[in-house]
Amino acid sequence: MSGGAESSESAKAGSSRIEARGISKRYGDFTAVEDVSFDVGEGEVVGFLGPNGAGKTTTMRILTGFIPPTEGSAQIAGYDLFSSPLEARRSVGYLPESPPIYPEMSVRSYLVYVSKLKDLPRARRKEAVDKALERCGLTHVQSRVIGLLSKGYRQRVGLAQAIVHEPPVLVLDEPTVGLDPIQISEIRQLIADLAKPGEYGGQSVILSTHILAEVEAICRRVLIINEGTLVLDAELTALAEEGQRLEDVFTRAAQGESIALGREVGK
């Protein structure tokens, strides 16, 4: 699914949907994220890689407005996370590491509730919920209670709540964890569809994962973070041109090697 150089250029030409500028997060003496800056353009699917504890989840929590950074700023769909937090949060769909679910609610009533929280106009609510159910393969379980669903279905419910209000920006923290291979490929297809311009608009997706093949399958660009610092921000095609395998790059990054490749990080 990695698009050609042409389409990637056109995506970048569009206004940038996520603009992270010098984001740092410190807890006392501990630095979780240090001076991270990057852009995600319209319709771009960006893979966010890094070893466990590298700061992926912290970065994603900052971008979704869950926690404020210690330093730096971020814009989501043109809205600053600090000066217009409600507009910025309205523009994000977020699937946290563990999918947020109310076990006692039915799938459908949960999605209706989320669509209300996300300010989806009443007139569009039913249609949007139906669409999210269908896209995540939940239509046949929509009246079941979430707590009784399997882990894979709960993960899909989590994904459905992230996309139900059709936000311009999606932040997905390990979206395919706990799914079987068929479900994984369905979800990958879904994410690729979300980014396509057209009926659903080119949504910008940033997704974290530990599966490198997943990044190669659906992402055009990859960000690698290690010990809180962004060490790589490159197009997959650029990696391929230089004859680098993602796996090698990742291993080197995880070992703390600085990687001179692609765009300069932090620019």
Binding site: F66, R90, Y94, P100, I101, Y102, E104, M105, Y113
Partner: protein
């Protein structure tokens, strides 16, 4: 505003599919029924005894409000003190366990909308409990003639107490992710509030604090017991209404601060 009703509506519907709501309602109805029946039977016995002994003075003075409803409301107060933490323990703690706190805090809603939505859900549920108590007092009107406005005033006192307890319980639930801890924290806070008047009186009597000292003044202000007793006697004072509004407001501000602090951890 729409967010507040959405949040309150979801919370209430979740409460009513959970066993907690039914256990609480059943327990409350059973206890209310038991104490109401006990009150009525003892009133009946007193009247019969007074009649057989021809105590006309006593028969003149005795009435349903003082002899049945007063003690009944007093006991219901204590029952609410133990049951309301059970309703409120999950308000915020369960969101943390479900991971839905991340959904709420990344949604375009304000913390106040979240806190008020949760509070209203708890307040509506506790109003259901007070309705159960009102049902029993209503029975008295079928067979006797208690004073109507005095009874309403007592029920209003019960309602306002329960609403201030919901605010305390909401705060307790917002500081932890463990519902059991939330329950006991709320119970301890409510018991402390309950005992303030007693402690203030003790201090006055023992002379350690002194009846006129600022501390016992403050403790008496914070205590609900004098105010509740006034309302049971049928005295609705704006100062007492303001007290309940004050307690609710203070604990909701605490709750808001506590929920917001999740962002800084």
């Amino acid at each position: 505003m729409r967010h507040i009703t959405s949040i309150a509506g979801r919370e209430l519907s979740s409460l009513f599919v959970s066993p907690v709501a039914y256990v609480t309602l059943t327990l409350f109805a059973l206890l209310a029924g038991f104490f109401f029946l006990a009150g009525v039977l003892s009133f009946d016995a007193q009247v019969a005894e007074a009649q057989s002994l021809q105590y006309t003075d006593y028969l003149e003075k005795i009435n349903l409000n003082d002899a049945v409803l007063g003690p009944f409301f007093g006991v219901m107060w204590i029952v609410l003190l133990f049951l309301i933490p059970g309703i409120t323990m999950g308000l915020f703690a369960s969101e943390k366990v479900n991971g839905t706190q991340e959904l709420l805090l990344t949604s375009p809603i304000t913390i106040w909308e979240l806190v008020l939505g949760k509070y209203i859900a708890g307040a509506v549920f506790s109003a259901c409990l007070v309705l159960v108590a009102a049902f029993f007092t209503g029975i008295l009107f079928l067979y006797g003639d208690p004073e109507f406005w005095r009874t309403i005033s007592g029920l209003l006192g019960l309602l306002l107490l329960s609403w201030s307890y919901v605010a305390v319980g909401a705060f307790a639930s917002s500081v932890t992710r463990n519902q059991l801890i939330a329950f006991f924290l709320a119970l301890v806070l409510l018991l402390i509030l309950w005992m303030l008047a007693v402690v203030a009186d003790l201090g006055a009597a023992g002379g350690t604090i002194g009846a006129d000292s600022n501390l016992s003044e403050v403790m008496r202000f914070l205590s609900a017991s004098d105010r509740f007793e006034k309302m049971v006697r049928g005295l609705v004072d704006t100062r007492d209404l303001a007290y309940f509004a004050f307690m609710i407001g203070v604990f909701l501000v605490f709750t808001k601060t506590s929920v917001e602090s999740a962002r800084w951890r």
